[in-house]
């Protein structure tokens, strides 16, 4: 656990909980999506930290290096980032359409309008 040490994971957990709390507590739909992004990003960091090896070089062959970081976690997260971007895009597109048809993106207002129909 030297090198990055356990603090890396402490920060990841803090980010994760901050993101999840934002998703639950925020009233504004865009803020919810920001929270969701923070939550997802913390998981990306988690994977990248898994792949780290003390004194390991980046996973590109070079002469001086004796150990390399695990490239697989990077590749996985590359995929997960793409998925995250797509989710955010769909979420924002939905938010735009909600704004167009309800005139608001505040969850309280939406609930009121829903129950009045």
């Amino acid at each position: 656990m030297s090198g990055l040490g356990i603090w890396n994971y402490v920060i990841i957990v803090l980010l994760m909980m901050t993101g999840l709390y934002m998703v639950i507590s925020a009233n504004n739909l865009v803020k919810k999506l920001i929270g969701l992004n923070v939550f997802q990003t913390s998981v990306f960091f988690l994977y990248i930290s898994f792949g780290y090896i003390v004194d390991g070089a980046g996973p590109v062959l070079n002469d001086g290096a004796t150990a390399y970081a695990n490239p697989l976690t990077h590749v996985l997260i590359l995929t997960a980032i793409v998925v995250g971007v797509a989710t955010t895009a769909v979420g924002l597109a939905l938010t735009v359409r909600i704004k167009e048809s309800f005139g608001s993106i505040e969850e309280d207002d939406l609930h009121k309008m829903d129950s009045s129909i």
Binding site: V43, Y47, F50, T73, L76, A80, L94, I98, S101, F102
Partner: protein, 492 residues
């Protein structure tokens, strides 16, 4: 070509989706999507026959040998599930033509069919793959397609329903991702068979336990187990009829399959049930969900919403079966997974036909339906009887096996709960039958739904009755699948 079947099932809708998105009009995209779904169904049936003849199929994606490359692994369980997914797609797509023109409009039709193909692709991929991370990718593909399909509903509340589902679905998928990360860090592999081999010696590790909790919670969010079902009622109610039929019949079932795969194969039944309190957690939730959701559905004025709550209750039955940890319980869960897909598909399609004629699915639209739309109405009744579990329908078969499994364990209170759930189903389906038969219609002229909706609907209804009488096909496969899963999927 036969050797490539596992990937062809996934590939056919994948290749069709971008072509569909570029097409114009509504008839040509519809025809292409329908043909592709029939092709996929053909592939899945061939796969099931292959599994039946020669046991499991392992397919190395791109020729990279597992566990380094991605492996597609087909056994009885996922072969059965693939038949369910592609079969439902093959019935829903012919049905979709009129329904989509009516509810979505021809302009957005190509995009609708493209999204429906992406949904099919994601579900098939989740079922076929033997790689834990690959599951996440397909899970997100199918989820993103579902969000956009739900948002195409006519009611503006479809948008908020879709948004809620997006938030909860993404949290579920991310939980799953965290769990898979923990497993990778402990074992250095993502291949399910390889994981199953390496995990038993690590069962004391708190990281593996955390991974187990994360994965089970994440998947339970996707399969809408009480109390994680909050996204489901609105999403099913406001989605277009064809989408509700497809999603309700297949999407939660694939999540059930994933749960079974992880509990019984990747972690192993011994770890899940003896070392982790899985049954103690899942069974109370399943029982509460079953009873509360059935009760709530009785009071729903909108029949589509009523059936959505009933879906939450049915998930309770399935989870009850798989949480028993016995071969009999697992058989019942697999049977109900398949059979519930058939009955909910039929019921939602019947409601779609009502919506096509009356523009809504409220209980007031059901009045006198036996006279105005007899074929649609009796299709609904047969589907409803199947949901209750009346003999000669598929619902009876799966409930029977579930009760037998509970009796085998001596769990009499559970038997009472299962029967009570059926009684509640009698009440909520009875409401619709009462309105349809005994109440006078507002306008007594006969307005039967067009054949384009009725034929696919009745194909599913006949499947409900046929497989309820001739149980050889489903029961034999479910029993073989359960035995295979109990033995660790034949992986160990």
């Amino acid at each position: 070509m036969l050797a490539h079947l596992p990937v062809l099932v996934v590939l056919a809708p994948l290749l069709a989706a971008p072509v569909l998105a570029m097409m114009r009009g509504s008839n040509a995209p519809w025809l292409l999507a329908t043909l592709v779904s029939w092709l996929s169904l053909g592939f899945s049936i061939l796969l099931l026959m292959q599994v039946n003849d020669g046991g499991q199929i392992s397919y190395a994606m791109g020729g990279w040998a597992p566990p380094w490359g991605i492996e597609y692994r087909i056994d009885f369980t996922n072969a059965l599930l693939l038949v369910l997914i592609t079969g439902l797609a093959s019935v829903v797509l012919p049905y979709a033509r009129l329904s989509v023109d009516h509810e979505i409009g021809p302009q957005r039709a190509p995009m609708f069919y493209a999204a429906l193909m992406l949904l099919t692709l994601g579900l098939c991929g989740m079922a076929a793959t033997g790689d834990a991370f690959n599951v996440f990718v397909f899970l997100e593909i199918s989820s993103l397609a579902t969000y956009s399909l739900i948002a195409m509903g006519r009611d503006r509340r479809a948008l908020t329903a879709s948004f809620t589902y997006l938030i909860m679905g993404t949290i579920g998928a991310t939980f799953y991702l965290i769990g898979v990360g923990f497993l990778y860090v402990m074992t250095g592999t993502l291949n399910m068979a390889d994981l199953a081999e390496r995990l038993p010696e690590l069962s004391d590790s708190s990281t593996v336990r955390t991974a187990f909790a994360m994965i089970v919670t994440g998947i339970c969010l996707k399969l809408a187990l009480f109390p994680l079902h909050l996204w489901l009622p609105n999403a099913y109610t406001y989605a277009p009829s064809a989408v509700t039929a497809m999603v309700a019949a297949t999407a939660t079932k694939v999540a059930v399959y994933l749960l079974i795969r992880f509990i019984y194969v990747v972690f192993g039944a011994e770890f899940s049930f003896s070392e982790e309190p899985l049954a103690e957690v899942l069974i109370p939730l399943a029982v509460i969900g079953l009873l509360s959701a059935s009760t709530v559905s009785i009071t729903q004025p909108d029949i589509k919403r009523m059936l959505a709550y009933s879906s939450v209750a049915q998930i309770g039955y399935i989870v009850l079966g798989l949480a028993m940890g016995t071969v009999a319980g697992l058989t019942a869960a697999l049977l109900h997974m398949f059979n519930h897909g058939l009955m909910k598909g039929a019921l939602f399609m019947a409601l779609g036909a009502v919506a096509y004629r009356f523009g809504g699915t409220g209980i007031e639209n059901m009045r006198g339906l036996a006279r105005t739309m007899p074929l649609t109405f009796w299709a609904f009744v047969i589907g409803g009887l199947s949901l209750i579990g009346v003999p000669l329908t598929v619902g009876f078969i799966s409930k029977w096996y579930l009760i037998v499994a509970a009796v085998e364990l001596g769990w009499w209170p559970i038997v009472v709960v299962i029967l009570a759930g059926s009684m509640l189903a009698v009440v909520y389906i009875g409401r619709v039958i009462e309105a349809g038969v005994f109440q006078a219609p507002a306008d007594p002229t006969r307005r039967e739904a067009p054949w384009g909706l009725l034929i696919p609907l009745w194909i599913l209804v006949i499947a409900n009755v046929w497989l309820g009488i001739d149980t050889r096909l489903t029961v034999d496969i479910a029993e073989a699948a359960a035995a295979q899963l109990m033995a660790g999927g034949g992986f160990r």
